[in-house]
Every structure is written in C-alpha cells, then in structure tokens.
C-alpha cells in the first residue's frame, strides 16, 4: 500500500489527540493499553477478585452476615437491635473498570483495524506486519521467531516502564509527566537505533 493512501499527519494528530482527552472525559481512566492487556494476562486472579467484589458489593447481605457472625460469637451479651457503623467501600479490583468493559475496549481496537481494512477493500496480507517486513528485517520462518522475540521485549519493557506508546507516549507526555517523557525518549531512541541498524545505516 502506498503511503499516500494513509491519513495526512494533521488528521491522525487531531483524531489521536481527541481520543486521548475524550477517553479521560468519558470514562475517567488514563488511556493505556498495556495495563488493560495485563489484566487479561492475569485473567484468573482478575476474575476471582471481581467475583469477590460482587459478593461484597451487596451491602445489606454483608451487614446481615456480619451481624449474624457477631451474634454467634457474643450471644446474649449483644444488644438485640444492633446497627453496624457504615464501612467505607473497599474493592479488591480498586477503581478498575469491569473486565468486560476492558474486553470491549481491546475488542474495539481489533474491530477498528478490521473496519479500516474493509473500507479499503480487503484484509491485509503478507509474510510479516507489512509487505516490506521480509526485506527490512527477515522473511520465512525466522520472521515469526523475530516477531515473537520483539513482542516479548515489548511486553516486558512496557510492563517494566509502567506504560506504552498510549499510556506514556500520548496520555503522559501530553501532561508533561517526567516518567512519561523519559520513557518515551527511551523507547523512541532505542527504536531509532535498532531501525538504523536494520537499515544498514550504522
């Protein structure tokens, strides 16, 4: 596909900037894909925490259970009409949105890529993440090994840095957060270095 068929820089900039701010306004969450992916890497713990939160969120049932347990321990020493003090709500999943909401978010990203290709007349094809991959990096079976290794570095690095190109690059940099500026300079600098080596320019 020729570069000319992609959006001009200002259109992409306006749209990505609007998504970054709009996401915060709409759901009060920082934009960031790595943290969302991490929840699905830990799916079992996340599902368990969400199940326990659901059980704890029924305040009346929780209060009744606490009163019953207290009565069992202290018996007649307890006044018959016991009013428990209100407790602050604590969730095991913190302030995180429901897993299903985050699943929709990730599914939406996949669907967005699909919609873009369908509007352009068909799915992408090729032996790599693009037609030029075999020429620039490598082809045949080695490409899969390099993609797997590269992906592992991406997953490890973004988790270590506490953010990726969305969480640090867009959301953090737009607010001049020191950690995001340093992380973005680090990943961009490293990517430039490796790309120049691949190109044969160093």
């Amino acid at each position: 596909m020729s570069a000319a068929s992609y959006w001009p820089w200002w259109a992409g900039a306006a749209a990505l900037g609007a998504i970054t701010v709009g996401f915060w306004i709409a759901v009060r969450r920082p934009l960031g894909v790595t943290g969302v992916l991490a929840r699905f890497v830990n799916l079992r713990e996340e599902v368990e925490a969400e199940r326990k939160d659901a059980a704890l969120s029924d305040e009346a049932a929780l209060t009744a259970a606490l009163v019953a347990a207290t009565r069992e321990s202290f018996g007649d020493a307890m006044p018959p009409s016991l009013t428990p003090l209100p407790m602050p709500a604590v969730r095991l999943t913190g302030t995180r949105p429901r897993l299903a909401a985050h699943a929709l978010f990730l599914g939406g990203i996949v669907a967005g890529g699909l919609a873009s290709r369908l509007l352009r007349g068909g799915l992408a094809a090729g032996s790599g993440p693009g037609d030029a991959y075999a020429r620039i990096v490598c082809g045949d079976w080695r490409a899969c090994a390099v993609l797997l290794l590269g992906g592992a570095l991406v997953g490890f690095g973004t988790t270590l840095a506490g953010g990726c190109s969305s969480g640090h690059g867009l959301f953090g940099c737009a607010r001049l957060q020191p950690g995001s500026l340093v992380a973005t300079a680090s990943f961009f600098g490293a990517a430039v270095g490796v790309s120049l080596v691949l190109k044969g320019g160093l």
Partner: protein, 136 residues
C-alpha cells in the same frame, strides 16, 4: 466506577484501532520510515497528537486530578527494551491488536510475545518488588 460505561470503552477502542490503522501505524514499512527519519509523516502525527491532547487537557480538564507518572527505576530500562522490541516486531501493544484486526497473521506471534513479556515482567516484579507504576 462500579457500573462501567461499557459502550464508551468499546467505542473508544474502535476509534483508536481505526485511527491507528488509517494513519498507517500498523504498516511496518511506514513505521520503519518513521524510525529512520526517511518520512516524518507518522512522527508529525504522534507529535501533533501530543500537542492536541495537551491543549485538550489544558482547556477541558483544568480542575481534574489526573494520575501522575513519576520516574522510577524501571522507566529507562523498560523504555529501551520496549523500543528495541517495537523496531523488531513493528508493534506496540495497541498496534499488535490493530494488525490482528487487519488480518496480518504474523501479528499473532507479536501478540503472543507481548502477552508472554507482560507475564514474565510481572513474575519478576512480584519476586523483587519492582515498583513500575501502572498503565491504565
């Protein structure tokens, strides 16, 4: 946030995936031309997006308390590893998903690697209690 606005998460994911694909971030050749400074279109897209978001936050979210992103000891090594990986596989976490949607089969390997990398980093972090903040 007990009742998450499901529809909004889905719509923003859809918009993000669509825009990343239309801008060409999921095309390895375009990405490589950005990282080697042969073509500044994607670089301008990214820098422009940061500028637009900066203006948006300043104008629309003045009273909001937004989470901070301090520097910690994982910031630089994590960023460098991520950059090396991105140049090798052409995918950041969001772009791997976009590539899957576009039908780029090899992105399955990138996505599997990303999942494994996240898993490994969390394992090490639990063991040595690295404080690496969070991303979303």
């Amino acid at each position: 946030m007990a009742r998450a606005p499901f529809l909004r998460f889905g719509l923003f994911g859809l918009a993000l995936g669509f825009v990343l694909s239309e801008a060409g971030f999921s095309d390895y050749a375009e990405l490589h031309r950005m990282f080697t400074f042969q073509d500044l279109r994607l670089l301008a897209t990214f820098a422009g997006a940061v500028a637009v978001a900066m203006a948006g936050f300043a104008l629309l979210c003045r009273g909001d308390v937004l989470p901070g992103r301090p520097i910690h000891r994982g910031t630089v090594p994590g960023g460098v590893l991520f950059g090396i990986g991105w140049a090798l596989c052409g995918a950041c976490p969001a772009i791997a998903l976009v590539q899957l949607g576009e039908g780029r089969g090899p992105a399955l390997a990138s996505a599997a690697g990303i999942g494994g990398g996240i898993w490994a980093a969390q394992l090490l972090r639990r063991r040595w209690r690295w404080d690496a903040g969070s991303c979303g």
